[in-house]
Symmetry: D3
Subunit: 79 residues, 6 copies
């Protein structure tokens, strides 16, 4: 009876999208449920999936909000 929580930033993966689409979310739910079936033999019906979308200003890495972190990485400045 697995529970899978997927935390992602709230932003699009394609131009023009501002967040993961319903289709992308459905693909995550399907994929991870099938993974639990394949690897641990957990019935699809017993796996719960929760997708948690986090605003980019609420996500940090490298001591910085994620958008600043990415700009820093891209600029080649030392970390």
């Amino acid at each position: 009876m697995p529970i899978v929580t997927i935390q992602i930033t709230r932003e699009g993966s394609t131009p023009g999208a501002s967040a993961a689409t319903a289709e992308e979310k459905a693909a995550l739910i399907k994929g991870v449920s099938e993974l639990l079936l394949d690897v641990l033999n957990k019935p699809l019906d017993s796996t719960f999936v929760v997708i948690d979308e986090v605003d980019t200003e609420n996500w940090g890495r490298g001591g910085l909000p994620v958008e600043q972190y990415r700009r820093q990485q891209n600029s080649g400045s030392p970390e």
Copy 2:
């Protein structure tokens, strides 16, 4: 000093409601805090409760987003 996290889908439990009401949330907070007091003798004051409302398209079961899962269950089709 318990912490209780209650994750529910963001939808109403009664016709016309689109989410749990403030009264329902207060009843969850009261009920679960009293449960910890009754079962484990934890003072009410030391229990924190967080209710996390999850959009239905972000909640999966049976490999499907929850609304599709429910339609499938109701239609009697094999799982």
Copy 3:
């Protein structure tokens, strides 16, 4: 399809017990599942409960590990 996570310190609620007993855990699971049924009309079968026991040295309050915090509270020293 609620998910309830109950985080408690790993310690007994009665003399001689070093952790919540299986009976106490069963009572938490039963109580919180019935609460979701009563308040939000969620079927018992669709509620998952996870109890997470946390070692006391891994739990902090008031800027202190919880056992130090309790000693400080009981000694009446200013916080």
Copy 4:
């Protein structure tokens, strides 16, 4: 920069195993990281995965500890 948390009961999926094996865990980590790459174009390197193994007496469903719940399901008694 996704974070995926996979909560499973601490029990084996094959005879003689008392928990998921290191190989099964590695397969979960690989599979879910590749899923995020495929669906949302997240680089493998930016996905963190945490597997949280929960003792069966700490996992509840249907208002019961999970092992009791399974026995009830298998016995065909009304829920």
Copy 5:
């Protein structure tokens, strides 16, 4: 490779603010990442931080929604 989750109520810390500001969030991300570096020698780059803002009606303490709890504390009524 630590993951730090900071759950706070969605409310301002200064007059006129209705939530933590982007600057306050950046200060939390910076501070906690540096703490992990100082205490456990974790490189800044390997620490992920997620800030989870919770509506006040979804946060409970003392068996009450947090705003009621605070009014009760301030009024000096017995808990």
Copy 6:
């Protein structure tokens, strides 16, 4: 009334240590509670901290269990 969850791998930060020490944990609890006080004016007493130690085989990055990931990074092989 913040709740801070710090997830770290269960391993030592100094030679001979197999996990974070009680002193290191106390420093994390103190540091993060003071950070919430400094940045958001949250009283020390109202911040809860939970440290969650995760076995290295249960932690993944780059599609690999973390110890394999680190070896790969150090060997300079392409990711």
